[in-house]
């Protein structure tokens, strides 16, 4: 996974609550089996007309946000379906950080698996960032310092759980980390668990 330390770029404002993953990545494209090259489907029905013409008023079709590396959203961003395609489409477009008032839990987890930083901000701070985003200012997100820098020396601090921050900054592969660090703990747990709940290990054959 690509490490995330610092990121600067235009931030695209999506001033809407409850943007679900069906909006981010419409269900009808879920038959695709790869996780790369999905950027063309990102916000498909908001971004394009049915015949594929870009809608000029949609933020990601406008300068400077066509080059956005950050999204600034509202409440409950990424709610709904667990589809990781939503995150893969964001990544393929070039988005590596989403700043919002809150996130759908599964979406947030999916971001972390793909080196995308989800930042949660209280309303006032979020409004500040959204204002800068709307002006097309360059926004700097520094995970190392846990700080968002806006133009004119303004900055906003945020917090990330230490383990999450470390994993993102190191670009760790989650499976590899578990296998390396936890193998014996898992084996020991499994033995205890089996002894306490043998029925969980003795299911009938799959019909």
């Amino acid at each position: 996974m690509q490490p995330f330390v610092r990121l600067a770029g235009p931030a695209a404002p999506i001033a809407e609550d409850n943007v679900d993953t069906d909006i981010i990545y419409p269900a009808r494209f879920l038959l695709r089996m790869e996780k790369t090259g999905l950027g063309d489907v990102l916000f498909r029905d908001r971004r394009f007309t049915p015949d594929g013409t870009p809608r000029p008023d949609f933020v990601l079709n406008r300068e400077p946000w066509r080059r956005a590396t950050i999204l600034v959203a509202g409440r409950n961003f990424g709610c709904g379906s667990s589809r990781e395609q939503a995150v893969w489409a964001l990544a393929d477009f070039g988005i590596r950080c989403v700043i919002a008032a809150s996130f759908g839990d599964i979406f947030r987890g999916n971001c972390l698996q793909n080196g995308i930083l989800p930042v949660r901000l209280p309303d006032a701070a979020l409004a500040d960032v959204a204002g800068a985003a709307l002006l097309g200012e360059e926004v700097l997100v520094d995970l190392d310092a846990q700080r968002i820098c806006l133009s004119g020396q303004r900055s906003i601090d945020f917090t990330t759980e230490p383990a999450v921050r470390e994993a993102l900054m190191m670009g760790w592969d989650a499976t590899e980390m578990i296998l390396q660090r936890e193998r014996s703990a898992i084996a020991a747990f499994q033995e205890r668990h089996r002894a306490a709940n043998p029925w969980l290990f003795a299911q009938g054959a799959c019909p």
Binding site: E16, D17, N18, D20, D22, I23, P26, A27, R28, L30, L31, R32, M33, E34, K35, D45, P50, R75, N76, C79, G80, S81, S82, R83, E84, Q85, V87, S102, F103, G104, D105, I106, G109, N110, Q113, E161, P162, A163, V164, A174, T175, I178, L179, E182, A185, I186, F189, Q190, H193, A196, N197, P198, W199, L200, A202, Q203, G204, A205, C206, P207
Partner: protein, 468 residues
């Protein structure tokens, strides 16, 4: 020992290790797989040379992209065909039990798991699908995960999670006739809002839940995710245990008795404290419908769409206006009487035998309004067989409904079943998001009886008026 909630007990009994910042590594007992969220997980296993830790802890079935008719032949859509074939091939390669599309046990992941007894109380169960909350109806710690996490689970038998806050939703009173579990679920959404449950594990309790059968409990837990809560939980009781006894993949004989004894102890302590408690009395509840594009846009069937002019602030007004526009509704418009193009009875919310019985009771001796396309899609092939044994297929067909094979169908519209832009559908599924049933399609969520009544009336209608 300090007293705890059911969620905390389930959590504690699965912690392998903790990282000191609120994240724990949890042991996974059950993983259910479907064709849409797993192809990349298997690709990663192959690329990294990792093995599946416990193939027997996995169960796979194709449901989302499968056609629901003409099932004998080749799947017409080449992408869907490739996706289903990939699941079968991947399962064969990694030794994972797979319920064949042509077999008697295929169905929607969240219908099949419980039906087979693969879902058990006290188990930690995951699936690359947000409605995995359904399985919490058994007192399992069940939640949806992403595709990358499917690979983590298969390779490590574990999942890293942040502990949720706890919420008790206490359901009091007695629902009126024709007010069912779906209406209660919608009432919970109306109370909590989409996002109101985010970060929480919800436990449903109270006399309403005690009286509910497993099917109704699953409907309730299924829709917990629409509040943002990844987990909906119900403590196992005699109803749960009776449901599981004799299921093919449930433990048998003396092992079942031993398990059942343990399951009876799975409950929140009387003095356990929840981070949040909501009390909802369902006695005065009417059948509910959604008017908008998030599942909490709920009103009683005799209610009116909201008026943005009456919204508390500009942001809410904008959202309401946008949703009304998408739904083709005027501010303040009554929902009853609104003509529909389609009705969909099925999905993991309402595709079980009890749901079909309820819809059939409305359909019996009546006829679908000409011009309305009405689909009945059993949640599993076993539900279909049961329904046919009971003659429900004839009831539906005689009434002008299409009787289909099991699958997700119009709940997600990535298969052959989808609506055209602007079409309006009375649907028993769980999401009314923009485009969910096809680009530009308009979805009104409701119960199976209400959807059947709408099909017959050709418009949104109070089922009680149809049955009067």
């Amino acid at each position: 020992m300090a007293s705890g909630t059911l969620y905390e007990k389930l959590w504690n009994s699965h912690v392998v290790s903790e990282d000191g910042s609120g994240n724990s590594l949890l042991y996974v007992d059950r993983h259910i797989l479907h064709e849409v969220s797993t192809p990349t997980a298997f690709d990663t296993l192959r690329q990294t040379g990792r093995a599946v830790q416990r193939p027997d802890a996995n169960l796979a079935v194709a449901d989302h992209s499968v056609p629901t008719r003409d099932r004998g032949g080749v799947i017409a859509d080449p992408l869907a065909r490739a996706q289903v074939a990939a699941l079968a091939r991947n399962c064969a390669e990694f030794g994972i039990p797979y319920l064949a599309l042509e077999g008697p046990r295929q169905g929607i992941v969240h219908v099949v798991g419980p039906e087979l007894g693969f879902t058990l109380p006290g188990a930690l169960l995951v699936c690359g699908d947000s409605h995995t909350s359904t399985h919490g109806a058994f007192g399992a710690l069940a939640f949806g995960i992403g595709a990358s996490e499917c690979e983590i689970v298969m390779a490590t038998q574990c999942i890293r999670q942040r502990r949720a806050r706890t919420m008790l939703v206490q359901l009091e009173g007695e629902p009126a006739p024709w007010v069912c579990a779906k209406d209660v679920a919608l009432a919970v959404l109306a109370r909590l809002g989409s996002g109101g449950g985010t970060g929480h594990a919800i436990e449903f309790a109270g006399p309403v839940v005690d009286r509910f059968g497993m099917s109704e409990r699953m409907t309730l837990c299924n829709m917990a995710i629409e509040t943002g809560a990844r987990i909906g939980l119900i403590a196992p009781d005699a109803t749960t245990i009776a449901y599981l006894e004799g299921r093919p993949m449930a433990p048998g004989g003396a092992m079942f008795d031993r398990a059942a004894a343990a399951w009876r102890t799975l409950a929140s302590d009387g003095d356990a404290s929840f981070d949040r408690v909501e009390l909802i009395d369902v006695s005065a509840l009417s059948p509910c419908v959604t008017w908008g594009t998030t599942p909490d846009d709920v009103i009683a069937v005799d209610g009116r769409a909201p008026d943005p002019a009456a919204a508390p602030d500009a942001a809410v007004a904008t959202r309401i206006a946008h949703a009304l526009d998408y739904m083709g509704l005027a501010p303040g418009q009554p929902l009853a009487g609104l003509p529909i193009n389609a009705a969909f009875i099925g999905s993991c919310t309402n595709g079980r035998i009890e749901d079909l019985r309820s819809a059939a009771a409305v359909a019996a001796g009546r006829h679908v309004r000409p011009g309305v396309r009405a689909l009945v899609v059993p949640g599993s092939t076993d539900v279909k067989r049961q329904a046919e044994d009971e003659g429900l297929d004839h009831v539906f067909r005689d009434a002008g409904f299409e009787w289909r094979e099991a699958g997700c169908s119009l709940c997600v519209a990535i298969n052959d079943d989808r609506l055209q832009p602007g079409q309006r559908c009375a649907s028993t599924s769980n999401r009314n998001f923009e485009g969910r049933q096809g680009r530009g399609a308009r979805t009104h969520l409701m119960s199976p009886a209400m959807a059947a009544a709408a099909a017959i009336a050709g418009a949104i209608v109070d089922v009680r008026a149809v049955m009067a």
